[in-house]
Symmetry: C2
Subunit: 327 residues, 2 copies
C-alpha cells in the first residue's frame, strides 16, 4: 500500500479528501499532520502526528521515517484579511513551511509526488474583460497572502525543473461545501439566513461587498481534482482548480433566501468591505478538464442545498444540546 502524507489534516479540505478516498475505495497508508495536540479521522490506515512545519529538522525526521509516495500539502494560513494584519506569519506559514517540505524531500532524495496548493489570489486584479483567468497570465499579487503563494509557486517550479522534485501546482479558487468554517463568506451568509428564518425575519443580514464576483467550486469537486493532480498531474505544471463560472455574492444570497422562503433586509457593514478586494475573479479550468477525466459534479444550487442542510442540522444539534444543558 502506498504512503500518503496529508498536512493541515484537521482542515476543511482534508476531511473531504478522506471522504473521497473512502467513497472511491482508494486505500492508502495515511500519515496526517497538523498543529493540534491530537486528531482522529474515520479512515482505516490512519495515523496522526502533531508537528509545526516550521521545525525543519523534526519534519525531515518524519519524512525520512514515513517515506511518503505522495504529499497533499494543505497546511496554510489561507486568510487574505489575516495576512494584512500579520504578513510575516502569513509568509512564513505558507512559503517557508512549504520550502521546508520540498527541501527535506530533495535532501532525502525521495521520489515523492507533492501537490502544492496555490491560490487564485496569485493573479491579482484583472478587469472583467480578462476573465476567465488562464494559467499563462502574468501574476500580479496584491496582498501578503498572494505574495506568499506566488513565492511558493516559484519555489515549486524551481525544485521541479532544476532539482527534479516531483511537484505539481494548483491555483485554487474559492471552495464551498458542508463543514466549511463560518468565517468564510458562503457559510456565514447561510448561517445568518437560517437564523433570520428561525427568528421570524426580524434580524438583518450583515454583509460586506456583495457586488463582487467569485468562482466557487464545491469542495467535493476540489478533492477529486486534487486526487487526480496528485497521482497523474504533470510535474512542474500549474493547474487552475475552479468551476469556470462567476457568481455575484448577491446571487448566492438570493438563491439561499428563495430556498428558505425568506426576504431578508440587508445591512452593509463597512468593516467587512475590503477596499483592495478584486471585483471579479473567475478561472479557466480547461487545462484541468482536458488533461484528466475531470468535470465538476456539484452545481451551485446543489452545493448550497447541502450547506443549508448541514448548517440547519448543526443548528438543530446546538438547540438539542442547549435543551439538555450541555452547551
Amino acid at each position: 500500500m502506498k504512503n500518503l502524507l496529508i498536512t493541515g489534516a484537521a482542515g476543511f479540505v482534508s476531511g473531504h479528501f478522506l471522504e473521497y478516498l473512502k467513497e472511491n475505495n482508494l486505500e492508502y497508508n495515511i500519515l496526517a499532520t497538523d498543529i493540534l495536540e491530537d486528531f482522529k479521522a474515520d479512515y482505516k490506515n490512519f495515523k496522526y502526528k502533531k508537528i509545526n512545519l516550521r521545525e525543519r529538522e523534526q519534519l525531515k525526521e518524519i519524512l525520512a521515517d514515513f517515506k511518503p509516495d505522495y504529499i497533499l500539502h494543505l497546511a496554510s494560513i489561507s486568510s487574505v484579511s489575516q495576512s494584512w494584519k500579520q504578513p510575516v506569519e502569513s509568509f512564513v506559514n505558507n512559503t517557508n513551511i512549504f520550502l521546508n517540505i520540498i527541501e527535506s524531500i530533495r535532501e532525502l532524495e525521495l521520489p515523492t509526488r507533492i501537490l502544492s496548493i496555490g491560490s487564485s489570489e496569485e493573479y491579482g486584479n484583472y478587469p472583467a474583460e480578462k476573465m476567465p483567468l488562464h494559467e499563462d497570465y502574468k501574476l500580479l499579487p496584491c496582498n501578503p497572502y498572494a505574495v506568499a503563494r506566488v513565492s511558493q509557486e516559484m519555489l515549486s517550479k524551481l525544485y521541479a525543473d532544476c532539482y527534479n522534485v516531483n511537484i505539481i501546482m494548483t491555483r485554487s479558487f474559492n471552495h464551498i461545501g458542508p463543514k466549511q468554517r463560518e468565517a468564510f463568506v458562503v457559510p456565514s451568509f447561510v448561517k445568518q439566513l437560517i437564523e433570520i428564518k428561525n427568528s421570524g425575519n426580524t434580524k438583518p443580514l450583515v454583509v460586506g461587498n456583495i457586488e463582487i464576483v467569485r468562482d466557487f467550486l464545491d469542495v467535493r469537486d476540489v478533492v477529486d481534482a486534487y486526487y487526480k493532480l496528485l497521482t497523474q498531474g504533470k510535474i512542474g505544471e500549474v493547474y487552475n482548480v475552479c468551476s469556470g463560472k462567476g457568481v455575484k455574492l448577491k446571487e448566492i444570497i438570493e438563491i439561499v433566501s428563495d430556498k428558505l422562503e425568506i426576504c431578508p433586509k440587508i445591512e452593509i457593514d463597512s468593516s467587512r468591505v475590503r477596499p483592495t478586494d478584486n471585483m471579479i475573479i473567475v478561472g479557466d479550468n480547461s487545462k484541468l478538464k482536458s488533461e484528466f477525466n475531470w468535470n465538476p459534479i456539484f452545481t451551485l444550487e446543489s452545493s448550497l442545498n447541502d450547506i443549508i442542510d448541514y448548517l440547519s442540522q448543526d443548528r438543530r444539534n446546538q438547540n438539542e444540546c442547549k435543551n439538555k444543558g450541555t452547551v
Copy 2:
C-alpha cells in the same frame, strides 16, 4: 543630522558607500550592522552593532531605538552557486531578513526610506536579441537566489503600495572594483594573471565558461546610484543598476593580459562551468539615467586598472609580510 542604517556593513559595497559619503562630504549619523563580532570603519559618526537579521525582535528594538531616516539594506547571501547548495539558507537570508526589516518599520510606523537591493538574476534566461533587459520584462527566476530576490521585490512592492512603507528597489547587475573578494570572477582572473606574470608565465589561467557576456558596473558608480536612489528614488519603483554594456569574460582576460604584458595559457575547469548560467546578461539603465543626474564614470579599462593596482599592492603587502615572517 539624519540617521542612516547600513546592513551588511562589512561587505564590499558598504565600504565603497562610506568612501562615497566621505568624498562628497555627506554627513550622516551611521549605524552599521553585520554578523561579525566587531567592525570598524573610518567614518566620523559611525557605530556598529552585531545582529543576525533573522532575529526580528532584536532588530525591531534596534530600529525603534535608532529611528533611521534611511536604510541601505546590503545584507545578503548573494552567491548563486551557494544558493544551489543551500537554497533554504539563501531564501531565509535574503527574503525573510528583508521582510523582518520592512515589517518592523511598518509596525513602528517610521517614515524611513529603504533601498531594497535586487539582482539581474531576477530576469532569468532571455536570449541575446532581448538585450538590454528592461525593468518592464517578465521575471523568470531560475535559481534559488533569483527566486529569493523576486520574492523580496514582490514584498517591497506590496509594502510600498499598500502599507505606505517608503521602499525603492534595484535590480543590480555585476559589480567590479578594488577590494572585491576573489571568489568573484574578475578579481579571481586578475589575481591569477598577476601570479602568472610573477611566476614567469609558467602557470595556466584556470577559468569556467569565458564565452558568457555580463554587464559590469564599477562599484563606485553603483554606490553613486544607490545614494541617489536612497535619497531621491520614487517609492515603489524598481531601477536597473548597470552599465548598459555587455562584455565577454574572455575580453576581460585579454584586456588584463595586455596590461600585464603576458600571454597566458587558458585551462577550462569544468567544475567552474555552470550548465544553468545565462549566456548573456546586459541591462538597460535608461530609467536610472533619465530620472537622476547619474552616469557611470568608470570605464571598464579604468576599473580593471584599479583592480590590478589593488591586487598587485595586496600581493606586495603579502610578500612583505612573508619576508617579515608574519604570514
